[in-house]
């Protein structure tokens, strides 16, 4: 997939990358690290690939379990055994900082992509039957029946979220209150809508207080069967 970029696509990418390297210090630094790494190990593709685009908020979420050494922002590691949560959406005309991809890895250690995401899905299914709920066809069920099932899902998912995440609202004010967005605000934390003109500080009404994670405590995924979202049950 990676090699499929045409000459024109690569030219456009190089053009965009030029300006990114000039304007975005982090992007430039990451490319530099990547180049150094490639120089040191010419035979091996670097594990880490450039910036994970706009970084999440500073105090963000650090998994307590050892995170997979480093994950590409938009992973596109080809052909690996079971890949249920296929992320990979490559080979489109380059949009954002999509730096040069390494040549096909010979045999990377087998590890499903999006392993932690998959594990979280497993937990939500186990505690709150979320996958069952979303996979079921709603037609034919009354609102009361759906509501009753939603209670099960709500109770379980609530417990799972409370167990594994510590979340807090980004804004403490009540929704509907008037708030001020200071200059230099983080666009990842505050989304402006409506009459977005002028320059900060902005005054506006808080429509959604937002959520951010203070901590994540996902349990370690089991060593085997990581692709299993819910085991089959057989009663003897």
């Amino acid at each position: 997939m990676d090699q499929a970029l045409s000459f024109w696509q690569r030219l456009a990418l190089a053009f965009i990358a030029f300006f990114y390297a000039l304007s975005d210090r982090r992007f430039a630094g990451a490319v530099d690290v990547w180049r150094e790494e490639r120089r040191a190990h010419p035979d091996r593709p670097p594990a880490s690939l450039g910036p994970s685009a706009p970084k999440p908020p500073a105090e963000a979420a650090k998994p307590s379990t050892p995170p997979p050494a480093a994950r590409p922002a938009a992973p596109a590691k080809a052909a690996e055994p079971p890949k249920p949560a296929a992320p990979a959406k490559a080979a489109e005309p380059p949009k954002a900082p999509e730096p040069v991809k390494p040549v096909e890895a010979p045999k990377p250690p087998p590890r499903p992509d999006g392993e932690e995401a998959l594990h979280l899905l497993t937990l939500l299914q186990r505690d709150g039957r979320l996958v069952d709920f979303c996979s079921e066809e709603l037609a034919g069920f009354s609102d009361a029946e759906i509501g009753a099932a939603a209670r099960t899902v709500h109770a379980g998912c609530k417990r799972a979220i409370e167990t594994y995440f510590r979340l807090e609202p980004i804004y403490r004010e009540a929704e509907g209150a008037s708030v001020t967005v200071a200059p230099g605000f983080d666009a990842a934390q505050v989304r402006l809508t409506g009459n977005v003109v002028g320059s900060p500080p902005f005054k506006g009404a808080l429509r959604h207080h937002g959520w951010r994670a203070l901590s994540v405590k996902l349990p370690t995924a089991p060593p085997a069967g990581r692709e299993v979202v819910a085991p089959a049950e057989v009663e003897l």
Binding site: E136, L138, F141, T152
Partner: protein, 612 residues
């Protein structure tokens, strides 16, 4: 022991176990609860304030390799705690539960591998003693891994450990509890009655203010309804030389009745309702219904305005809505089943339906035949009124003609968290007392009713070092040895038995009873076995008192001793007397003393089944 850094309290419960600790070096430090790391799902270890007292023995193929690993034992093969309880609900043949109730069951050999009862043969068996030791062993390993981290000075075995037992545990069950703790590596520890621990927790939480809350003449009823058992105690407040003193004056019987019965009763009520509508439930669904009923109960108890709470049993297959069963728990059903079913308004003269004979249900636990907690309570207060006179409890003025009048109630146990249930107990007891012209008892404000016993036990560790008030009381029972009277054999008639008191009630820790006048002849080199009895109401009996009708007593496991050959020629009859000794840790020991003063230990014999 002297160097212990922490006072540790362990509440080894029928359904849940908790550990609390406080640093001994800090003045006035409050007890903290240890979050016990345990498997909550395969491969997931989380700390929880309660360790469910369940042991699950998985099939070798049941879990993936490493899914049962604990931080301190990567090769663990059995499961203790939340995962054990969860799995066991779906696969009951592999679950060992209520080990503590089995440990106090006089009808079985508690050292014999018998649990789980009635499971297929290939499931490995474990004795009630070993199962209890496993739970305690998990606590010790978890503490040593989390707190001590290899420092022997901080290891649990080297702390001032207090282990709680129900007040209703007799000498044999207490002895076995200590044996289980030793097996788990806790060699030095002290036993404490659970209701006393609850009161210590209250005193600890009140600080010095507790002295203002009670006055001499008060009689505190500790009403402890936990997951599996109900336990009553009465603690009197007395004036001893101008200072307030607390004296435990009565303990109740071992009643196997608790919150689990109540949740099950609610589930059955809902199941009946569903059956009327033509829905049949399998075991998994009944289990889910029990969970749902418990959640609905908590919702209704938590919000008095709510008239009903929905209960959903989700579809078991991947179709969540298709297979779902919906119902609701209404407030009338909740009150009819729980409040009126388990806490009915009964007169003070009520007696619980008589207990089934254990001999007939040897393979099952002797669950209470009567589910009404209030009837058991009425019986408890009435029985002890008869025996608690001025003669047997000097200095105490206890009110009540037909039954004892509690002036204050301290609740304990998860069940009593429900205000409706606690309120009903207060209402019923107040009704009884007011009928005799007394004043209604007040409620002593409690803390966290699930954890109070563990916290109180930790506080007791400090009390033992002389800081704070100590509840006195001594042993809660008098103990007797039975003699068969020599008389001509009559077919169909067991020879009459006389019981000789060897240990009066109220023996303090570290004391010895007097030598009874009566001598027994023991044959050197041959085991001698005696029937052994106890009573929690016969206060006046002193060492040497003879009870002619042993039916008034409760029979325990027999006792046995063998005089070694060195004490005389084999076959020779040596006259001995039995002497009781209450150890510092709170267990009862018996020894056979010969005239020269030499003594041999007398063991509790569990192999012989009582009444079988």
């Amino acid at each position: 022991m002297k160097l212990a850094k922490y006072a540790v309290g362990i509440d080894l419960g029928t359904t849940n176990t908790a550990l609390s600790f406080l640093p001994l070096g800090e003045e006035g430090a409050a007890p903290e609860v240890f979050g016990v790391p345990q498997l909550v799902h395969p491969g997931e270890v989380q700390p929880r304030p309660l360790l469910p007292s369940f042991l699950y023995r998985p099939h070798p193929t049941e879990f993936a390799k490493g899914a049962l690993a604990l931080p301190w034992d990567p090769e663990a093969a059995d499961v203790v705690g939340e995962l054990a309880r969860g799995r066991g609900a779906e696969t009951p043949v592999r679950l060992v539960s209520s080990a503590k109730s089995w440990l106090s069951h006089p009808g079985i050999d508690r050292r014999a591998a018998a649990l789980p009862v009635g499971s297929p043969e290939e499931v490995p068996r474990i004795s009630p003693l070993d199962a209890s030791a496993r739970t305690l062993g998990h606590l010790r390993a978890a503490w040593d891994a989390e707190v001590a981290k290899g420092d022997p000075a901080l290891a649990l075995a080297n702390q001032e450990v207090t282990l709680t037992v129900p007040a209703s545990f007799d000498a044999v069950a207490r002895e076995l509890t200590v044996e289980a703790a030793r097996q788990a590596g806790l060699l030095e520890l002290t036993l404490l009655e659970e209701p006393q621990a609850a009161l210590y927790a209250w005193v600890e939480a009140m600080g010095d203010g507790w002295r203002k809350q009670v006055k001499p003449g008060d009689l505190i009823l500790v009403c402890d309804v936990g997951g599996g058992t109900t336990d009553f105690s009465l603690i009197a407040v007395a004036d001893r030389d101008g200072a307030l003193a607390l004296e435990r004056v009565a303990v109740g019987d071992h009643i196997l009745l608790g919150g689990d019965n109540m949740d099950l009763a609610l589930a059955y009520a809902l199941q009946r309702k569903l059956a009327e509508a033509g829905r049949q439930l399998d075991r998994w669904q009944l289990q889910a219904l029990t969970h749902g009923a418990r959640a609905a109960k908590e919702a209704l108890f938590g919000a008095p305005a709510l008239a009903a709470s929905p209960v959903t049993v989700p579809g078991r297959g991947s179709s969540l809505m298709g297979g779902a069963i919906r119902t609701e728990l209404t407030r009338e059903e909740l009150e009819g089943t729980l409040v009126d079913g388990f806490f009915p308004r009964v007169p003070a003269s009520a007696k619980p339906a008589s207990q089934r004979r254990t001999a007939l249900t040897t393979l099952g636990l002797p669950y209470a035949a009567d589910a009404a907690v209030t009837r058991h309570l009425a019986d408890f207060l009435t029985r002890h009124r008869e025996s608690l006179g001025e003669a047997s409890a000097p200095g105490l003025k206890l009110a009540g003609r037909a039954f004892l009048h509690p002036t204050a109630i301290l609740f304990n146990g998860g069940v009593m968290k429900a205000r409706e249930l606690a309120g009903r107990v207060v209402e019923v007891v107040s009704g009884w007392v007011e009928e005799e012209g007394g004043a209604a008892p007040r409620v002593l404000p409690g803390g966290d009713l699930d954890l109070a016993v563990a916290k109180g036990a930790a506080a007791y560790g400090r009390v033992r070092r002389g800081k704070g008030i100590r509840i006195r009381g001594g042993t809660a029972r008098a103990y007797y040895v039975g003699f068969e009277l020599a008389m001509p054999a009559v077919p169909g008639m067991a020879p009459p038995v006389e019981a000789l008191c060897v240990a009066p009630m109220g023996m303090e820790e570290g004391t010895r009873a007097d030598l009874p006048a009566r001598e027994l002849g023991l044959v050197v080199g041959e085991p001698a076995r005696f029937r052994f009895f106890a009573s929690s109401t016969r206060r006046q009996d002193q060492v040497g008192t003879v009870v002619e009708r042993e039916a008034e007593l409760e029979e325990l496991a027999p006792i046995e001793t063998t005089l070694p050959a060195g004490s005389g020629a084999a076959g020779q009859v040596v006259p001995v007397r039995l002497r009781a000794h209450v150890t510092e840790i709170g267990t009862l020991e018996l020894e056979a003393v010969e005239q020269g003063g030499e003594a041999w230990k007398v063991e509790f014999n569990l192999r012989e089944q009582v009444g079988a």
